[in-house]
C-alpha cells in the first residue's frame, strides 16, 4: 500500500509538469507581451519592465526559473493587481473556494447517494421515476441557469436569503453564525445540484447491481431487515463507483465554482481566475491553473487510494 501510494504520487509529477509547461508556453504564445498594450511606455521603460520580470531572457531559461519558483510556491507578481503577488491573491481566495467546494461536495455525496439508494430500492416505481427525472434535470440544466433562477425565487421574490456577498469565517463574530450560514445556502446548493444528479444516478445504478448479487440474497435468506441489508452490506459494495467518481466530481466542482463565485460575488480563486483572464493577467491565470490542476490531480490520487484501500477487487500494481 505504501509503495502504491508512493508510485501514484510519483506518477502525478509528469502530469503536473505537462500542465505547467503547457500553461507556460501557451501564455508565451500570446501575441505581444503583457506591457505592449500600455500607453506611453517608452522602449527604455519597457526594457526595464521586461528585465524586472525576467522577460528578456531566452524562453527556456524563463521556464526553468518559473518552474523553480513554482516549486517554492512563488507564482510571481500579478501583472494587473500591482501590489499583490499571485501567491497572496491565491491564499486570499483559497479559503472561500474551499469552503463552498467542500460543503458542496459533502452535500452532493450525502443527498445524491441517499436519493440513489431510495430510487434503487423502489426500482421502476414512482419514487424511482421522480428521482431520475430530477437527476436528468440536474444534469441537463447548468448551474449558471439554476443559480440566477434560484436567486430570483429565494432572494428577490422572497426575501429569504441574501442575493450575494460573502460573510466568511472572519465575519462570524461580527454578523453572527446565521448570516454566515445564510450566505452559503444558495452558492453551495447551486454548486452541488449537478453533482447531486450525477451521484444519484451512479448510486442507483451500482445499488441495483449490488442488490441482485448473491451475497445480498444470502443476507435476505438469513432474514435480515431491508434497512440492515442496505446499511451493512449493500452500501459498502455500492459505494465503490461513487468513490472513484469523487476525483472527477471535485474537478467539476472547481469548474462550477468559476460561475458560482461570479454570480454570488464570492472572493474566491475562481473570481480571480475569471477577472485575470478578462484582464490578461498572465501570471495570475497561470498560478490559478496550476493550483487547480494540482488540486484535481491530488484529489484523483486520493480517490484512487481510497478505492484501493476499500475495494478488495482492486489489485495494486
Amino acid at each position: 500500500m505504501a509503495l502504491y501510494t508512493l508510485k501514484r504520487l510519483l506518477s502525478a509529477l509528469p502530469t503536473l509538469f505537462v500542465i505547467i509547461a503547457v500553461a507556460f508556453f501557451m501564455m508565451r504564445l500570446a501575441p505581444g507581451g503583457p506591457f505592449t498594450n500600455e500607453r506611453n511606455v517608452s522602449p527604455a521603460i519597457e526594457a526595464n519592465l521586461n528585465a524586472k520580470y525576467n522577460l528578456d531572457q531566452p524562453l527556456g531559461m524563463q521556464f526553468i526559473s518559473y518552474l523553480g519558483n513554482v516549486v517554492q510556491g512563488d507564482f510571481g507578481p500579478s501583472f494587473v493587481n500591482r501590489d499583490f503577488s499571485v501567491s497572496e491573491l491565491i491564499l486570499q481566495g483559497l479559503p472561500v473556494s474551499l469552503t463552498i467546494g467542500i460543503a458542496a461536495l459533502m452535500l452532493a455525496v450525502s443527498i445524491g447517494s441517499f436519493l440513489g439508494v431510495m430510487a434503487a430500492l423502489r426500482q421502476n416505481k414512482s419514487t424511482d421515476y421522480a428521482v431520475m427525472a430530477v437527476a436528468m434535470a440536474g444534469i441537463t440544466i447548468p448551474n449558471f441557469v439554476t443559480a440566477p433562477v434560484m436567486t430570483l425565487i429565494f432572494a428577490i421574490w422572497n426575501d429569504w436569503l441574501p442575493t450575494s456577498g460573502w460573510v466568511g469565517w472572519g465575519g462570524i463574530d461580527e454578523q453572527g453564525l446565521g448570516a454566515f450560514g445564510r450566505s452559503l445556502v444558495l452558492p453551495v446548493i447551486t454548486l452541488a445540484l449537478p453533482q447531486i444528479a450525477i451521484i444519484s444516478r451512479l448510486t442507483r445504478g451500482s445499488m441495483i447491481e449490488v442488490l441482485r448479487s448473491n451475497f445480498i440474497r444470502t443476507a435476505r435468506a438469513k432474514g435480515l431487515s431491508t434497512s440492515r441489508i442496505v446499511r451493512r452490506h449493500a452500501l459498502r459494495a455500492a459505494a465503490m463507483p461513487l468513490i472513484s467518481y469523487l476525483g472527477p466530481a471535485s474537478a467539476a466542482l472547481l469548474t462550477g465554482s468559476l460561475v458560482i463565485e461570479k454570480i454570488f460575488t464570492l472572493p474566491g480563486i475562481g473570481q480571480y481566475f475569471v477577472s485575470g483572464a478578462l484582464n490578461r493577467d498572465y501570471t495570475l491565470v497561470m498560478g490559478v491553473v496550476i493550483v487547480y490542476a494540482s488540486l484535481i490531480v491530488f484529489l484523483n490520487i486520493l480517490a484512487d487510494l481510497a478505492l484501493a484501500a476499500l475495494d478488495p477487487k482492486v489489485r495494486l500494481t
Binding site: P14, T15, V18, I19, V22, A23, M26, M27, L29, A30, P31, M136, I139, T140, I141, P142, F144, V145, A147, P148, V149, T151, L152, I156, A251, L254, T255, L258, V259, K262, I263, F273, V274, A277, L278, R280, V285, V288, V289, Y292, A293, I296, V297, N300
Partner: protein
C-alpha cells in the same frame, strides 16, 4: 434427369421465394432503428421540438419586427406583451429575437464543435484500434494524460491568448470533446476487429480496406451517432459557460450564455430576460438528451 438450371433465379419457385423475400425484406438495422426511435415518445417529441427551435432560430430573426441589436430606450425592461412576446431587456432589446439569434450561435457552436471532435476522435480512435499494439498504447496513453488535465482552464487560456473569436471557440471546444469519442471508437474498433463476421470476411479473401469500409465503419456508426447527439449539448453548455463568464461570444453578437449573463445582471428589473433564454436553452438541452437516449435504445442491438 433432374439438372440444376444454370439460371436458377428464373425458376418459378425461386422467383416466388424471391418475391416473398422482398415482402419481408426491409428490416435492415437502420430501418429497425428508425422504427424503434419513432416509437419512443420522448425522443419523437424532442425531435419535433428541436426542429421547431431550429426553424425559429433560422427564420424568426428574418421576419421579426425587431432587430436583435435594436436598442430602444423608450421600452426598456418591458414585461412580455403583444408587442414584445418575451419582453425586453434593460436596454430595450426584444428578448424573443435575441433568444433566437442566440440559438443560431449556440446551435452552430454546438454542431461545429461536435463535428471537430467527431473528426479528431474517429480518426484517432480508429487508428489506435485498428493498428493496436504499441501505436494503440501510445495514442491512448496520450488520451489518458489529456483526460486528467482540467481542460476548461486551457480553453480559457486559449480564449485569453487568441482573443474571443468564434473559430477559436469551435476548435477549443471540439478539442475538449474528442477524447471520449476517441475512446469509444477505439473500443468499438478493437472488439469489431475480432468479431466472427470480420474473420469470415477475411477468410473468404476480402481486402482489409473493404473490410474496414463494409464491416467496421457501418458498425461504428451507431455508437458514434449516439455519442454525437450527446456531445452537442455538452458543446452548447461549454459555449454558454464561456460566454456567461464573458470569455466567449462578444456583444453585439449574442448567444444563450450571453443572454443568461445579461438576464442575471438585470435581475430585479427584468426577470423575463433571464427566464426565457434559460428556458429555451434548457428545453433544447433536454431534447438532445432525450434523442440521444432514444438513439441508444434504438441502435443497440444487444438491448432488443
Amino acid at each position: 434427369m433432374n439438372t440444376i438450371s444454370p439460371h436458377a433465379d428464373q425458376h418459378p419457385n425461386v422467383r416466388a421465394m424471391q418475391s416473398a423475400g422482398d415482402a419481408i425484406k426491409g428490416r435492415s438495422l437502420w430501418e429497425d432503428a428508425r422504427r424503434r426511435l419513432f416509437a419512443n415518445k420522448a425522443a419523437l417529441a424532442s425531435m419535433i421540438v428541436l426542429f421547431l427551435v431550429l426553424l425559429a432560430a433560422i427564420f424568426w430573426p428574418l421576419i421579426s419586427p425587431h432587430a436583435y441589436n435594436d436598442v430602444n430606450y423608450s421600452a426598456y425592461s418591458v414585461a412580455p406583451s403583444a408587442e414584445y412576446w418575451m419582453g425586453t431587456d434593460v436596454n430595450g432589446r426584444d428578448i424573443l429575437v435575441r433568444t433566437m439569434m442566440g440559438a443560431r450561435v449556440s446551435l452552430a457552436v454546438g454542431l461545429i464543435a461536435t463535428m471537430v471532435s467527431l473528426v479528431i476522435g474517429v480518426v484517432w480512435g480508429a487508428t489506435a484500434g485498428f493498428f493496436g499494439g504499441t501505436i494503440d498504447n501510445v495514442m491512448m496513453r496520450i488520451v489518458d494524460v489529456l483526460y486528467s488535465l482540467p481542460f476548461v482552464f486551457f480553453v480559457i487560456i486559449l480564449m485569453v491568448i487568441f482573443g474571443t473569436s468564434l473559430w477559436i471557440m469551435f476548435i477549443a471546444i471540439g478539442a475538449i470533446e474528442w477524447l471520449t469519442m476517441a475512446r469509444i471508437v477505439r473500443g468499438q474498433t478493437l472488439s469489431l476487429k475480432e468479431k466472427e463476421f470480420v474473420e469470415a470476411a477475411r477468410a473468404i479473401g476480402v481486402k482489409p480496406l473493404t473490410i474496414v469500409r463494409r464491416h467496421i465503419v457501418p458498425n461504428l456508426i451507431g455508437p458514434v451517432i449516439i455519442y454525437v447527439t450527446l456531445t452537442i449539448p455538452y458543446a452548447i453548455l461549454a459555449e454558454s459557460f464561456l460566454s456567461f463568464l464573458g470569455l466567449g461570444v462578444q456583444e453585439p453578437l449574442t448567444s444563450w450564455g450571453v443572454l443568461i449573463a445579461d438576464g442575471a445582471n438585470g435581475l430585479p428589473a427584468a426577470p423575463w430576460a433571464l427566464l426565457f433564454p434559460a428556458g429555451v436553452m434548457a428545453l433544447t438541452l433536454f431534447c438532445f438528451n432525450f434523442i440521444g437516449d432514444g438513439l441508444r435504445d434504438a441502435l443497440d442491438p444487444k438491448d432488443r
